[in-house]
């Protein structure tokens, strides 16, 4: 089953604001891997206190050459966030939420596709792949429109000190292209069946 990374392409909100290391767009800090050594990454968002919250939108699959992407194609969506706090002795918690186009949380009953990662300070970037989600609500397959408009909220819910940074965020879309139905009288390789 093929997979593709969906990268952010738009800001929905940033309040209380993460500090943007360069420019004015959160998504532009999170749409690619770190720019170098952890001590000199010029493309991340940072915070020195908890509460910072941003919401970003993502490129739809068609932007990655998946033409004809439609309902029933999606096997799973996995949120990935790359983060760090290199101030020894500190810890932090990042809450990732999968949101729809109205900023409602996906998941059974809403709000269950919200996951925390709690991490002690480390000297290197740490990548967290959250739970792959095979449905949007616990039972229904992801629709084309849901995938095309999915958002992500990144919320620093706990922070004991130092600087917490996030340098990359994306969704992994695992999909299967439906096999075209072949009818009895369809022309196939020039022959009638």
């Amino acid at each position: 089953m093929p997979s593709v990374k969906l990268f952010p392409n738009t800001d929905v909100s940033n309040s209380p604001a993460w500090t943007i290391s360069s420019g004015s767009d959160v998504w532009a800090m999170l749409d690619d891997n770190d720019t170098g050594h952890i001590s000199s990454d010029g493309s991340d968002i940072e915070a020195t206190a908890s509460g910072k919250t941003c919401i970003i939108g993502f490129y739809p699959p068609v932007e990655y050459g998946i033409s004809g992407f439609g309902d029933g194609w999606t096997n799973s969506l996995t949120a990935v966030v790359k983060h760090n706090n290199r101030n020894r002795g500190n810890s932090y918690t990042i809450r990732m939420s999968m949101l729809d186009s109205s900023n409602n949380e996906y998941g059974p009953g809403g709000g269950l596709y919200v996951e925390d990662v709690t991490q002690s300070a480390a000297a290197s970037w740490i990548t967290t792949a959250f739970t792959p989600r095979t449905t949007s609500d616990g039972s229904s397959a992801w629709t084309k429109d849901e995938v095309n408009t999915i958002r992500m909220k990144i919320h620093l819910t706990a922070h004991t000190g130092g600087t917490t940074g996030v340098t990359w965020a994306y969704y992994i879309l695992n999909y299967t292209e439906p096999v075209a139905a072949v009818t009895d009288n369809a022309v196939f390789f020039g022959s009638n069946f």
Binding site: H37, R86, N87, Q119, S124, T127
Partner: protein, 185 residues
């Protein structure tokens, strides 16, 4: 806390941690996995010379000596811990040098098989000052380790050494200075 308070601060010990001027710089539970991390670093790199930032209680310094390091430079800015380091040094016949300075005041001029960074940051500028100085004195590609820390999985950049203790997963950080290696790359 400012840096002068860190220099002058007295060491206190609680049931769970060690503090300078009331600020925790080492949790007691860290000892076992910090030391294990150093053991694994030495097993992998076999360093004979080590530059170590931060003596603290000497747990990692002791392990470096146990692992056979023969040239060992240790920087410890706190006065009380520095004195403790001098006392500790008397137990060894190897080439150990203890300097009572911050890492950003270290001018380099010597090459090491391994740099081990376990500094405690007390202001938000400390990391910037430390790393700015390291960029001046360390060659790119220098083996550079940090402290071991508990992780949820193995998706960590650079060259971490993973190990398990008491059913918990830890990563002993290890990188090549200014030559990042991305997880999965």
């Amino acid at each position: 806390m400012n840096n002068q308070q860190w220099i002058d601060g007295a060491l206190t010990e609680t049931d769970t941690d060690y503090q300078i001027a009331g600020v925790t710089f080492l949790d007691k539970e860290e000892e076992v996995y910090l030391v294990k991390g150093v053991e694994l670093l030495c097993s992998q790199l076999s360093p004979s010379s080590v530059l170590e930032f931060g003596f603290g209680k000497g747990f990692t310094s002791t392990e470096f000596q146990r692992q056979g390091v023969t040239r060992h430079v240790i920087l410890e800015p706190n006065t009380e811990l520095y004195q403790a380091a001098l006392t500790w040094k008397a137990n060894y016949s190897t080439d150990i040098e203890i300097l009572n300075i911050f890492s950003w005041d270290y001018e380099g001029g010597e090459t090491f098989d391994l740099v081990y960074n376990d500094i405690q940051q007390f202001t938000l500028d400390d990391n910037d000052k430390h790393e700015s100085q390291m960029k001046k004195i360390l060659p790119e590609g220098q083996w550079y380790a940090g402290w071991a820390t508990e992780v949820n999985d193995r998706q960590v950049d650079d060259y971490p050494i993973f190990f398990e203790l008491n059913s918990k997963l830890y990563a002993q950080s290890l990188m090549k200075w200014m030559q990042p290696k991305r997880f999965g790359a």
